[in-house]
Amino acid sequence: MADPLLSVRDLHVRFDGDDGTVRAVDGVDFDVRTGETVCLVGESGSGKTVACESITRLISTESAEITGEVRFDGTDLTALSESALESYRGGRIGHVFQNPQDALDPVYTVGAQVVEAIRIHRDVSKSAARAEAIELLDRVGIGDVTERFDDYPHQFSGGMKQRAVVAMALACDPDILIADEPTTALDVTIQRQVLELLADLQEEREMALLFVTHDLGVVAEVADRVVVMYAGNVMETADVYELFDAPAHPYTRALLDCLPGRGEGFETIGGAIPDPTDPPAGCRFRPRCPHAIPECEGGDQPGFRPVGPADGEADGDGANETGPVEHRVSCVLYDDTHGVPSDLEGGR
């Protein structure tokens, strides 16, 4: 099997805070393959945003200590100088952020900002860049582009601003788009439009998508594979169907039960996320876990254990037989020596 397009290994990000060192990302591994959508899902404070901003060092290394390996198409990005990395950032790796308001400069027209995004990485004439920008804005669904090209951001609605930001991210035809909660600030009807736009663009351009969200409903709509994060660690990775059919980690299960229309009434997790300056030893979820056993304490977050595929359902593509183990969980209950509690076994 070919190497993944993006491969993150043992990523740690630490910040020095007033109350001690914040371990925002604490040993994270995940891969994104060409053309696939991987969702990084977790609550606030899970480290999902910091993890994806560390990929192109959008987080200043003056304030944070980043260690680990980030391999993109064979190159270790962590070893690159700031100037070498700049050609990737916004070039082969595009970014879309949560709040389009903050991603657009209020004093320049939307068109000028897309032109700038094109010309910053490529040596094209102003008029060629303008033609390309018009094409991009048209593609992302800005109606009547020639009229709207010279509008300022405040003349755009929230949904249109996010479309414009997507156009900017596409300016250099990226191999991967990193989208951090791109629809969280939008209304549900507009969210649906933007999700469909991203899915269409991805298919057209065979672009990989690393999609960060706290909303498992959105995950169900867009993901091929899912990486569940909690307190700076990966708890579980799985194919999206596997994850919803047979969530293995007690945390994933609890998170799914919080979804309206899935759990019974008001399911809550109880307790709070751990203090990032002083996380619990062993599994980070142990203090809130209904299934915790003595083995969960001590040491570091447990290593990954493979989880068998859900009973009988081969699911058509049969990728699991030849590829690497797709469904892995960081939970000691999945050791051979322990029986998985019956209420965690199988799916629904």
Partner: protein
């Protein structure tokens, strides 16, 4: 529980002036709330739901007297709130409380949480500081926090905890009506569930009348007894939560329901055969709302003209073309010939009605020839009742109220024929 509603809102309107030019002359009005009526009884939760710009928050601030209404009537406990004198107004301000969306900007960072929660008591004349603290601590415990939390500062709390504190502050005055404006939209899904369950619990225990404002139908479904769906300052559908979710009568409600991401990846394959309703475009500019039913430019069930026969769904595309021509949203140089126009609007196949087909053919040719006025003239034949008259909010066959010209027609019966 008495039969009379605690809060009655009738034909509420709130218009904001639009000023422009050097002298800031009033050149128009934004009708943020445009004739809204509903009741809230003791012990029930009413949801106001809609997209940004639908007027749901303005409805809330206006009905609480935080902003003056342009017209309409608001009665609280039988009395019109505009007639309140000083004492009565103060009493109303104590009995009706509001909690805003963003708990991060709701507190003075220099005050402890206990001081913030006790502040309304001081404003309303409780002079004894020990007693104030006692009441504040009670309220904090009521929302799942502890007495020790009273001495901490807002920054030491998470978003969900801050929203609990905001609720405690609203509850110290023992209100009868609680308005919560997007109480969970700034929170994680897991924390949302905690706050919603707290709201439901408080409401049951205290017998509050509650108005919950949200853009998220999932949230509304979990806690509301009745729902009002708002669009561009008007209520387009109103009814008991279960009935409204099971059998939506307004196409806008249907579209909103269909936009909720389904927490099941198999849902995206449309295994049940129902394609999701996708709304085109944004909410229109409220200073210049569309004529007739303000939803008609986006409606997937817009009523075809009586004089032509359309296969279902086709008229939407024809109308899209007509509106684009009329609004000058397309430039003729985009199209090489008339078939390019038809392709752009998904009208490649001939229309079944020969008369309609003739009009469309001529119009498409006019567009590709650059004669937009002629095209607009031809397409003018395709008018719809939806843009001529604004439907009233009236009872439907399903038993609850909706403002749609399709009233009575089952939504199921008119699914797309393609």
């Amino acid at each position: 529980m008495s039969d009379d509603p605690l809060l009655i809102v009738r034909d509420l309107e709130k218009h904001y002036p639009v000023r422009s030019g050097l002298l800031r002359r009033v050149t128009g009005h934004v009708e943020a709330v445009d004739g809204v009526s509903f009741d809230v009884h003791e012990g029930e939760t009413v949801g106001l739901v809609g997209e940004s710009g639908s007027g749901k928050s303005t409805t809330a601030t206006t009905m609480l007297g935080l902003e003056e209404s342009t017209s309409g009537e608001i009665r609280f406990d039988g009395e019109p709130i505009t007639a309140f004198d000083g004492d009565e107004r103060e009493r109303f301000r104590r009995r009706a409380q509001i909690v805003f969306q963003d708990p991060n900007s709701a507190f003075d960072p220099r005050l402890t949480v206990g001081e913030s929660v006790a502040e309304p008591l001081a404003i309303h004349g409780l002079r004894d500081p020990d007693r104030r603290r006692e009441v504040a601590v009670d309220a904090l415990e009521r929302v799942g926090l502890s007495a020790a939390d009273a001495d901490r500062y807002p920054r030491e709390f998470s978003g969900g905890q801050k929203q609990r504190v905001a609720l405690a502050r609203a509850l110290v005055l023992d209100p009868d009506l609680l308005v919560v404006d997007e109480p969970v939209s700034a929170l994680d899904v897991s924390v949302q569930a905690e706050i919603l369950s707290l709201l439901a619990e408080l409401q049951t225990d205290l017998g509050l009348a509650m108005v919950l404002i949200s853009h998220d139908l999932g949230v509304v479904r979990q806690v509301c007894d009745r729902v009002c769906v708002m669009y561009l300052g008007e209520i387009v559908e109103r009814g008991p939560t279960d009935r409204l979710f099971d059998d939506p009568q307004h196409p806008y409600t249907e579209a909103l329901l269909s936009s909720i991401p389904e927490p099941d990846p198999r849902g995206r394959d449309d295994a049940d055969g129902t394609a999701p309703v996708e709304l085109t475009g944004d909410v229109p500019d409220p200073s210049n709302p569309p004529s007739g039913c303000s939803f008609h430019p986006r409606c997937h069930r817009v009523v075809p003209p009586e004089s032509f026969a359309f296969a279902d769904g086709r008229f939407r595309r024809v109308l899209d073309l007509r509106l684009a021509v009329e609004n000058g949203d397309l430039s003729p140089d985009e199209f090489d010939d008339s078939s390019a126009v038809r392709t752009e609007y998904g009208l490649v196949d001939e229309l079944s009605d020969a008369d309609a087909e003739r009009v469309l053919t001529e119009a498409a040719e006019a567009v590709s020839a650059g004669e937009l006025d002629a095209a607009a003239d031809r397409l003018g034949a395709f008018d719809t009742v939806c843009e001529r008259t604004d439907p009233a909010l009236e009872p439907t066959a399903a038993g609850h109220h909706a403002a749609c010209h399709r009233r009575g027609e089952s939504v199921e019966g008119s699914s797309e024929a393609e």
